[in-house]
Amino acid sequence: MSGTSNELLLIAAIARLITDPAAHPARHVAVGAASPIPAAACWLAKMQGADIRLALLHRPRGNPFTEGTRELFDLAGQGRIDLFFLGGGQIDGQANINLIGTGAWPGTAVRFPGSFGSAFMYLTVHRTILFREEHSRRVLVPRVEHISAPGVSPAGTFRRGHAQALVTGRCVFRFDPGRARFALASLHPGETRETVRAATGFDYDEPAGIANTAGPTEAQATILAGPVCDAMIETYPDFCRRVWGRGAKENGGKEEAA
């Protein structure tokens, strides 16, 4: 399992954030495209008994919507999506995210894919977990070059929720929207306060007691390799093959070899 332990760790860490009893209840959770780790965390929480309705946007079959992503955004607009996940080409210390790019607008130096629904979801869902595996000064910057979606909003501007936390390949940060500031919450195995500080471009709080991020329990690992992988294999075949060694493509080898 050594080669895949980091992904399983991240899944376990996110699953704990999802079911955090102190947070807004996550009864209806949506997961965007190309997000296998958050999706696995949601499945894990659900299969461990959390009362979660999962909307997996990229699932080719059994897609819960009949009006595409418009239905997701309408649900979010109504306040019926409790939790969403966002990433960012850049993320800064105020939890602003940049999915546009660097250099002059619209990203003439390095172009990111685009803002997707982030500018809307970040303000309309009840909470957001930020997830970006790469933890470097390139990604975690003092100030994003362009704001796709703002981490906080001025008083008087409609907003339901904020970032709950930022999960990276090195640690978990919690976000305090009142102070618009992150605090280190737990360190992944092999990381220290110093390695995280060195790799982070923005300033953040560092409380006295910092736990180590716990990986999946044995029970969780069993659920992940079994029913969670079963649930995800159609949507994320590459990921399932990489993490659990399952889901080889039937008709893919030929083209990839070409």
């Binding site: 990229h58 607008w105 003439t108 629904g117 303000l123 893919g252």
Partner: protein, 280 residues
């Protein structure tokens, strides 16, 4: 009408709305557009777009694009989009997904604008002089602040294109659960639709089929294109070809690789999807 005749209905400079790779994107139609050599398209991603868009950009068919993202999903960034933007060959107007839906819904309803929550505080707003912010006229008295809210202008694309499972004798097409395409067709001035097959009768007379139908009222022209979504999937009929998209992403990293891709998969006589899928 055959696929190339359908592609010939798209004039140079046309505004063309395309859909994401999970929403019946018309792969064969995009390849036919490349073969036709269309130029200066103004693409609209509803709300994002992928393979078809990157292919058209790589082939030099596109002058500008308004979208919320261009992505090849698990295969990563859209390489020809990124290269064209970096080279200054493509005007990019950034949006956010629900804003695209909202602009189409306004056009569908025949109103000049619609409001949308959220978005305020995003730099998108500063780069969209066509978007406006007003104080919510319905805020409760005594609520204090102005409660600013975004207003988005209606967008009625000149053309929309997508791939449906079936067309009937009345010109109705069946898209099943992908009813966001109905909004797209309703909002667009013309809709060009490829279909997997034709069926007899009128699907609107069948209570089981009717809910997944887009009425022929909104459909300008139809061409049969077997496996016409490929490499994108079509509902439960065939899956998304992740290996082919990965191959595309790899080849399209360079101009030369993209040319090789086109030679092998776009410019062969007829559309190669049929023979490729038949061979598998």
């Amino acid at each position: 009408m055959d696929l190339d005749a359908l592609a010939a209905l798209v004039p140079d400079g046309a505004q063309l709305a395309l859909v994401p790779d999970n929403s019946l994107s018309p792969g064969a139609f995009a390849r036919a557009l490349v073969r036709r050599g269309v130029r200066d398209l103004r693409l609209i991603g509803v709300p994002v777009c992928g393979y078809a868009t990157d292919l058209l950009i790589g082939a030099g068919c596109v002058a500008e694009i308004e979208t919320s993202a261009v992505t090849l999903g698990e295969a990563g960034m859209a390489p020809r989009f990124t290269a064209a933007l970096a080279a200054g060959r493509l005007r990019v107007v950034d949006a956010t997904c629900p804003a695209m839906h909202t602009r189409l819904q306004a056009a569908e309803k025949g109103v000049p604008f619609m409001p949308l929550r959220g978005v305020l505080g995003s730099d998108l707003v500063a780069h969209r002089p066509d978007w406006k912010i007003i104080d919510n006229p319905f805020q409760s008295p005594g609520a204090g602040g102005g409660d600013p809210i975004l207003l988005l202008p209606a967008l009625a694309p000149e053309l929309a294109a997508f791939h449906a499972a079936m067309a009937d004798e009345e010109g109705n097409v069946w898209v099943g659960r992908r009813r966001e395409l109905a909004t797209l067709a309703h909002a667009s001035q013309q809709s060009l639709v490829t279909v997997e097959r034709r069926v007899p009768g009128n699907m609107l007379d069948d209570e089981r089929l009717a809910p997944g139908v887009i009425s022929g009222v909104y459909v300008t022209a139809i061409a049969v294109a077997e496996h016409g979504a490929w490499p994108i999937g079509l509902l439960d009929e065939y899956g998304y070809d992740a290996a082919h998209i990965a191959l595309y992403a790899k080849l399209a990293r360079t101009e030369a690789g993209f040319a090789e891709y086109c030679a092998r998969f776009v410019n062969a006589p007829g559309d190669p999807s049929v023979t490729i899928l038949a061979a598998e």
